[in-house]
């Protein structure tokens, strides 16, 4: 977000920050924060190319196709460039798409079609809805209320967002939708605590990354949290012969996800991005009094705010009732189409609340997403990702090993494997059947390994390309790729520790896992 901050007085500054209509999701290159980052940018370009060449010219492994090897090389190059940022991330995406073509990894149509994927449409339409919240000043009102109600200190403001995401996760399965609808609130609250694109601070990093965690990880609380969860449930039933009920999943998944959220709420602000004492209160002279004054000045809900609330309510209603659509309408209105209906009403002449030109659609973000998805799909379609997983498991002999050791390895591989792919669905389709087959071969009940592994599906928090919300939140320029990686890896490690601890206790009591040190018969 580029806040055009004129800083005459603190009150003017608050006014400027709250004037979100002047803000756009910035496409400009993020300034390097340190000399180390400058060197990373300088060496990132040749580094990426050398990694590309190394992977491309490595002796081919058995069963690895030429296209898979080339796809892995292209993706590795993009990964290095996305992390080190010698170019803006969307330029790297464009380079990646070109490389996929010239290395004959993917067909031109397959590469271009990515821009028409459901996820890209959902992003685009959700940004129109987000622009509506900003234009009608509903986002401003909600943010001020949120800060007044919960944001007396930075710590409680962060907790309020975690609880908000916890509330939304079971209601709205589309993570991108959840992200975009809460993004305006995040931006205003970050600004109130002094974190802007020009000078992001520890609060802003904590806020964005905790929300990323909330959006992704809390999806694992329920089996309906994402479609990939349901695929895993289906595979466990058809291949493993064990039906996983809704409450089975909730009892196993929710405690781990919620505990991780709370642990990271503390770890983030106390250890990873320590919030200095001076930043723990709103950065506004006059403190909450000024915010209260601004909130009161807004008066009662305006006509356009009421319209926005109604439109958003309709979309939200459609998002949360998708399981009933078929019986109500004879057709399922999927998340992008619910957003599309909302966008039609928002943009409708006379009755709508927004002109097309006022919609802040960050095309650079969509291009970044498209490139990331094209690369991820190429890894999946060519079989490179599956080959890597097969090789990894083939290299580990788990026969005669106690259950706890096997469990720890499988959960760890599942948790960190999200760094190699951009699709939860594809990762599920590759990993869960392998884990079920392996469980059977080792003599363990498939559900004892497959269900805990399935609980890791939604933990896609390691990189800005790991998921849809990651892309959106990264565009706020409040944190770097390395900071995202650090936070994500700590989150995943906390998750692995909790899952391993659960296997020894909670999951065993629930009857999901055998004794931790049991040895196969």
């Amino acid at each position: 977000m580029a806040a055009h901050a004129g800083t005459l007085t603190q009150e003017d500054r608050l006014h400027e920050l709250l004037n979100m209509e002047k803000m756009t999701l910035s496409s400009k290159v993020r300034e390097a924060q340190s000399r180390t980052e400058l060197w990373m940018r300088y060496l990132g370009f040749p580094g990426g190319l050398l990694v590309f060449l190394a992977v491309l010219y490595l002796p081919a492994g058995a069963g690895l196709s030429g296209a898979a090897q080339a796809g892995a090389a292209c993706f590795a190059l993009a990964l290095v460039w996305w992390v080190t940022e010698p170019f803006p991330t969307y330029v790297t995406s464009l380079v990646l798409m070109f490389l996929l073509l010239v290395t004959r990894t993917a067909a031109p149509k397959a590469i271009m079609d990515v821009l028409g994927m459901e996820v890209i449409w959902l992003n685009l339409l959700a940004f129109i809805l987000s622009a509506m919240l900003v234009k009608t000043r509903l986002a401003r009102r909600m943010s001020l209320w949120l800060v007044l109600r919960f944001g007396h200190t930075a710590s409680f403001a962060l907790l309020a967002f975690l609880l908000l995401q916890m509330l939304l996760a079971p209601l709205i399965p589309a993570t991108a939708a959840r992200c975009v609808m809460t993004l305006p609130l995040m931006l205003v609250v970050a600004a109130i605590y002094g974190s802007t694109e020009e000078s992001p601070n520890a609060f802003g990093k904590n806020l964005m990354l905790l929300n990323l965690l909330g959006i992704s990880v809390l999806s694992s609380m329920t089996m309906t949290g994402s479609s990939a969860n349901l695929i895993a449930v289906g595979l466990i039933q058809t291949m493993g012969g064990h039906r996983v009920y809704y409450m089975d999943w909730v009892l196993a998944g929710a405690p781990v996800a919620i505990a991780t959220g709370l642990i990271m709420w503390v770890v983030g602000q106390k250890m990873l991005f320590r919030i200095p004492v001076a930043e723990r209160l709103p950065h506004i002279q006059g403190g909450l009094g000024v915010i209260r004054q601004k909130y009161d000045e807004m008066g009662p809900l305006s006509q356009s705010e009421k319209k926005a609330l109604a439109i958003f309510g309709l979309v939200l209603f459609l998002w949360t009732t998708d399981v009933f659509h078929l019986s109500w309408f004879g057709v399922e209105i999927t998340a992008p189409f619910a957003a599309l209906l909302g966008a039609v009403i928002v943009l409708f002449p006379r009755w709508g609340v927004l002109q097309w030109a006022e919609a802040d659609i960050p095309w650079h973000l969509l291009i970044f997403s498209a490139g990331a998805y094209a690369g991820g799909l190429a890894l999946d379609d060519t079989g490179a990702a599956e080959w890597a997983v097969q090789r990894l498991f083939a290299g580990i002999d788990l026969r005669g090993v106690p259950f706890g050791v096997t469990y720890t390895i499988i959960v760890s591989v599942m948790m960190y494997s999200h760094l190699l792919t951009t699709s939860k669905t594809v990762r599920t389709m590759i990993m869960i059947p392998i884990i079920i087959t392996m469980s059977k071969a080792l003599g363990w009940d498939p559900v004892s390994l497959a269900l805990p592994a399935a609980l890791c599906i939604d933990w896609v928090v390691g990189l800005p390309i790991s998921g849809k919300p990651n892309v959106v939140l990264f565009a706020t320029n409040q944190y770097s790729v390395m900071e995202n990686f650090r936070y994500g890896m700590v989150t995943c490690t906390v998750g692995v520790i909790l899952l391993v601890g659960s296997a020894a206790t909670w999951f065993h009591w629930l009857g999901i896992t055998p004794a931790f040190w049991a040895v196969p018969q």
């Binding site: 000399r35 400058l38 190319l49 491309l56 196709s65 030429g66 004959r104 289906g234």
Partner: protein, 242 residues
């Protein structure tokens, strides 16, 4: 007279009814290809409820020559004939054939790689040196095939660039993969695995092959770009710029 006619019809139908009872429980094909486009195929067919008579089995190869029985009960005979651009294997099972029988047939196949050179006036769609391997088998017979597994071994000088298509597609509840590239006896190859093929079902594998080894163009271009960038963008980290 009517009774006699009915009896004759029944007698005529009797062998066919017996053949219809035969179940092909496994059908495994291994094809070792050579760079010149020829291949040596070994087909292992496992039959249940086998009975004397002729069993027709679709092969899926266009040109089949020199069909021999490598293993099977005494008296089994095999021949192949072209039908609609494909080939059919005719197995003649002798009297006294065991109910559960395994027959191994070998034959030579020609033209296993498709032509990729464009015809006069056509545009080239694939780079030079690319070979296309496509094997398709349609179960044209009423006998269902229990499990069909096709394995192909490529010539040493070629490498699979991509598996372009496999049929049938995986069903929703089916765990994959349908086909996979693999190391087969120390040589590059691939397999296709289909759990069941009813009458009219097709199984196919389409793989693009390229010569082993990569062109050095990428290496040269990459290294040149590295050097150029390090020289022309060195101001990014120069003290003066900082």
């Amino acid at each position: 007279m009517r009774t006699l006619t009915a009896l004759l019809i029944l007698l005529a139908c009797a062998p066919a009814a017996t053949a219809a009872d035969i179940v092909i429980t496994r059908y495994e094909v291994t094809l070792a290809t050579a760079a010149d486009g020829t291949g040596a195929a070994t087909v292992v067919i496992t039959l249940d409820d086998a009975a004397p008579g002729v069993v027709t089995i679709p092969l899926g190869f266009a040109g089949v020559k020199v069909v021999t029985i490598a293993d099977g009960p005494a008296g089994v005979a095999a021949s192949a004939r072209p039908v609609n651009g494909q080939s059919e294997l005719r197995l003649t099972l002798p009297d006294g054939v065991p109910s559960s029988t395994r027959v191994t047939v070998q034959f030579a196949a020609a033209g296993v790689f498709q032509r990729t050179e464009p015809a006069p006036g056509e545009r080239r769609t694939l780079p030079e040196g690319v070979r296309i391997f496509r094997h398709a088998m349609v179960n044209t017979q009423p006998l269902p095939i229990g499990r069909y597994r096709f394995t192909v071994v490529f010539p040493a000088a070629l490498r699979a660039h991509a598996v372009r298509e496999t049929l049938p597609k995986l069903r929703k509840a089916e765990a994959g993969p349908r086909a996979r590239l693999a190391d087969i006896g120390g040589r590059p190859g691939a397999w296709l695995d289909v759990p069941t093929l009813s009458q009219g079902d097709a199984a196919s594998l389409h793989i693009e092959l390229v010569p082993e080894g990569r062109s050095p163009v990428w290496l040269i271009a990459g290294l040149v770009l590295c050097v150029l960038y390090l020289v022309y963008f060195r101001d990014l980290v120069s003290r003066r710029a900082a």
